[in-house]
């Protein structure tokens, strides 16, 4: 993980992302998925992401993910140079397999959530979040 972060020392800004060859980015996403699932199949039901269709600023995008019965959820920003966002492990004291947070998105992209269920299987979903280019740099 540290190696990738070191090698991809590129800013989160849209222009920096644009300089990344698409294949490199796709590899990084594939690696992030594989690191979580070990390459297992993922069902496409049972995970729900709630995120704005359009984010006014990519620096602070509210997002929540809910996957009933999940023991772990990982969030992946597929268009960020470093796709991993966070991995959430639910303990016996968790009241639900849900978490809400605020994340950085470098540009318009799909955000992906993968849940590891109690039986060891995986499920995932992805939603597109449009990140607007503001008018006034402030």
């Amino acid at each position: 993980m540290l190696t990738r972060r070191d090698t991809l020392a590129i800013g989160l800004g849209a222009s920096a992302v644009a300089m990344l060859p698409a294949a490199v980015l796709a590899d990084a996403v594939d690696d992030a998925i594989a690191a979580f699932t070990g390459g297992a199949e993922m069902a496409d039901a049972g995970v729900t992401i709630t995120a704005p269709e359009i984010a006014e600023n990519g620096n602070t995008v509210p997002i929540s993910v809910d996957a009933p019965g999940a023991t772990e959820i990982t969030l992946i920003a597929t268009g960020n140079p470093t796709p991993n966002v966070g991995k959430f492990t639910f303990g016996p004291g968790a009241g639900a397999s849900m978490v809400a947070t605020r994340i950085r998105l470098g540009r318009t992209q799909d955000v992906m959530a993968i849940a590891k269920l109690a039986d060891g299987s995986y499920a995932s979903t992805r939603v597109e979040v449009k990140v607007t280019i503001g008018g006034c740099g402030g």
């Binding site: 991995k87 849900m98 994340i103």
Partner: protein, 108 residues
């Protein structure tokens, strides 16, 4: 901000066995390690890389956080409160510091 100050919000009341919504916020730059200063030098990464919450000694959530989490990290989740007890919240900083907040919670 210089001083790190965690904020916690719990519901006012709950019954034994309820699942309650817990919200946490802590002031922290979450410096991604990908920005440059005005001299063109990379600003070293310094983020909260892990957050945990326990209630009554039982793990509720253990989160591994990456630089893509926004500054002043906000986390909301649900915890089961089988009896009155104490929440312990812990944030782990890249610089080795650990910030802890505790909050007693009474069930009815």
């Amino acid at each position: 901000m210089t001083e790190v100050r965690p904020r916690i919000r719990l519901p006012r009341s709950a019954s034994a066995g309820d699942s309650i919504v817990v919200k946490t916020l802590i002031n922290h730059d979450m410096e991604s390690g990908q920005r440059r200063n005005s001299a063109g030098e990379t600003i070293p990464r310094q983020i909260i890389n892990r957050f945990t919450c326990e209630f009554g000694g039982v793990m509720v959530i253990d989160a591994a956080l990456e630089p893509a989490i926004s500054a002043n990290p906000y986390l909301e989740f649900e915890a089961v409160v089988p009896a009155s007890g104490e929440f312990v919240f812990t944030w782990y900083d890249d610089n080795g510091e650990v910030y802890t907040a505790t909050e007693a919670f009474e069930v009815s």
